[in-house]
């Protein structure tokens, strides 16, 4: 018995997949509903527009392969984006890279906040952004970041203490 593997031609493969994508209105709907918001969230977390877009696009790529199995694709997308942003922050720390440059057109108050965010440990930065930019409760942040709620509250307490010290005159 001999097994022969036959590969489909590249052209037909692309055509088939493209047709499937065009027909996948649900994924397009998710993109329209979430993409801009996810890029803003990622940008607030990691401070670099190009990396933020790459993170979100990678997340869409991942979600596209298992879209049919997801009950709440929006929530799953948010979890992936936050996880990937944490990976970027962690590698940046491990590599001891210079933080991204601050946008030039920020008002002074936001400039100060930007600098303080850069100093926060990644867990604390993520907790603060999810709490005060996205408006999630600690229990919801715990689900997104796969941490106990008590740990999230602890991150928030420490972050707020550090930020008050730096930002309050």
């Amino acid at each position: 018995m001999v097994t022969v593997r036959v590969s489909a031609s590249e052209a037909s493969r692309r055509g088939t997949r493209a047709e499937r994508l065009s027909a996948d209105q649900t994924l397009i709907d998710l993109y329209r509903a979430e993409y801009t918001g996810m890029v803003r969230l990622a940008f607030t977390l990691i401070g670099n527009n190009a990396e933020a877009e790459e993170v979100v696009q990678d997340s869409f790529l991942e979600i596209s392969s298992r879209f049919d199995d997801l009950g709440q694709p929006g929530a799953y997308l948010r979890t992936i984006v936050v996880s990937r942003c944490r990976s970027v922050l962690r590698r940046r720390r491990l590599m001891q890279l210079t933080p991204p440059a601050r946008p030039t057109d920020l008002p002074p108050e936001a400039e100060s906040l930007w600098d303080v965010l850069e100093q926060l440990p990644e867990h604390q930065r993520i907790a603060v952004v999810l709490r005060y930019y996205c408006g999630y409760r600690a229990s919801e942040i715990a689900q997104i970041t796969d941490q106990p709620a008590a740990t999230v509250r602890s991150h928030l307490r420490r972050a707020m203490k550090a930020m008050r010290k730096e930002l309050t005159p």
Binding site: V6, I28, E51, Q57, L61, R91, Q96, D146, R164
Partner: protein, 410 residues
């Protein structure tokens, strides 16, 4: 919500509004989804006569119950009668040290021959040489192409003052090759500042259908982007067990590495490809054994197990040790000592690079020293690779290398 929290909320929104999503992002995503689609394959199954059935690789002629060991002994080959003349400078090509592809009893000296070689150690080796007995064992190296998935959980340690960090972790490998392993290496920021580059030392305990089990040691270099995808290329530097004498090339592509906040470790998975060449069956059947006391017998020679004496070098992560061992040729004792190795005491497998200065006296040849660079790993399987970087006395001008593989003592 306090006034401070209100301000924080407002300023975070101001920062978020500075993000500028690309207008053609959907097209980019669509293109990438198409590009990452794996080739569609269809299996066509055909019935054919068994006599025409192709063999993927030769089946092992005999079960390798004795874990194979290829030699770490030193075979200094007789240069002929002129070797006893101290005024005669030896020619460089007359040191032969058996490796996995070498025939251990082949004399390469200009005047060598079965009758002129007074070394009795050659006799038992000659008896085990399939080529001299006319056996029909396969003589061609066996080449394999293997592919599958490797997943890893890695623990990264930030860089020190020298900018070099380290990592370690566990691997699980599936596909044509199946097993587990250890990863350990270093990394640093790459020159462009947009990712990491590093070296990795993989010690994989693996099994290949129709071949057997053993250990593969792979050294690789890798590069990753900030977002975590990484590309690795490497070579097989040693094999033990049923893979002794293995050589090969290795690639590993991991599309993404993900931080797990619960463990604070990086989890990664991707596809590997391994081109592996194993020695011929005739070479595989020749080996050496280790007895319960750790004494290795290689033909007519023995090699005692190495003992390590740790020395506190002030570095809590490593231990510098000194080892001594004794190699006894059938025609006389050869003692070697003074090995310096760096050992990771926390690793299940220790490996390192060191130097070994060997004072050697060989009957009929003379006395001198050999200085080796040693790359080794030590575990139930033993593996080391040595390269001669200096020789004095009777061995001045010689170059060579030594490869030792091992298996579980029977």
């Amino acid at each position: 919500m306090s006034r401070f929290e209100d301000t924080l909320q407002r300023d975070l929104t101001v920062i978020a509004d500075r993000a500028t999503p690309s207008p053609d992002a959907w097209q980019q995503i669509q293109r990438r989804i198409i590009d990452q689609e794996p080739p569609q394959e269809t299996e066509i199954i055909m019935l054919t006569d068994n006599t025409t059935r192709p063999r993927r690789w030769p089946i092992l002629a005999a079960a390798a119950a004795v874990a194979a060991l290829v030699v770490g002994g030193v075979a200094l080959v007789n240069r002929g009668d002129d070797a006893n003349d101290p005024a005669d400078t030896p020619t460089p090509e007359t040191i032969a040290i058996p490796g996995p592809d070498d025939d251990a009893d082949v004399d390469t000296g200009p005047d060598s021959g079965p009758d002129s070689d007074a070394d009795p150690s050659a006799t038992p080796e000659a008896d085990t040489d399939p080529s001299t007995e006319g056996e029909t064992a396969a003589t061609d190296p066996r080449s394999l192409s293997l592919a599958g998935t490797l997943s890893a959980v890695l623990d990264f340690v930030p860089p020190g003052d020298d900018g070099v960090g380290s990592f370690s972790g566990d691997d699980v490998i599936t596909g044509d090759l199946f097993g587990t392993g250890l990863a350990e290496g270093t990394y640093r920021n790459n020159d462009a500042g947009d990712g990491l580059v590093g070296n990795n030392h993989l010690v994989l305990d693996v099994r290949i259908t129709d071949i057997g089990e053993g250990r593969l040691i792979i050294d690789e270099q890798w590069a990753s982007k900030l977002t975590g995808s990484s590309e690795h290329t490497g070579v097989v530097t040693a094999g033990t067990g049923d893979f002794f004498g293995a050589t090969g090339s290795w690639t590993y592509l991991a599309p993404d590495g993900r931080d797990n906040p619960a463990t604070d470790k990086v989890e990664t998975a991707g596809d590997y490809s391994l081109e592996l060449t194993l020695p011929s069956q005739a070479d595989a059947d020749r080996g050496w054994t280790v007895d319960a006391d750790g004494v290795i017998t290689i033909g007519g020679a023995t090699h005692s197990s190495t003992t390590f004496t740790p020395i506190d070098d002030g570095d809590p992560d490593t231990v510098t040790s000194v080892s001594t061992s004794t190699h006894t040729d059938a025609d006389g004792a050869v003692t070697r000592s003074g090995v310096g190795h760096r050992v990771d005491p926390d690793s299940r497998t220790s490996f390192g690079i060191g130097r070994d200065t060997q004072e050697l006296t060989l009957d009929g040849f003379g006395t001198g020293t050999l200085e080796w660079v040693v790359y080794w790993s030590q575990d139930p399987h033993l593996s080391s690779r040595q390269h001669l970087i200096g020789a004095t006395g009777a061995f001045e001008g010689y170059t060579g290398s030594l490869i030792a593989y091992g298996g579980h003592p029977d």
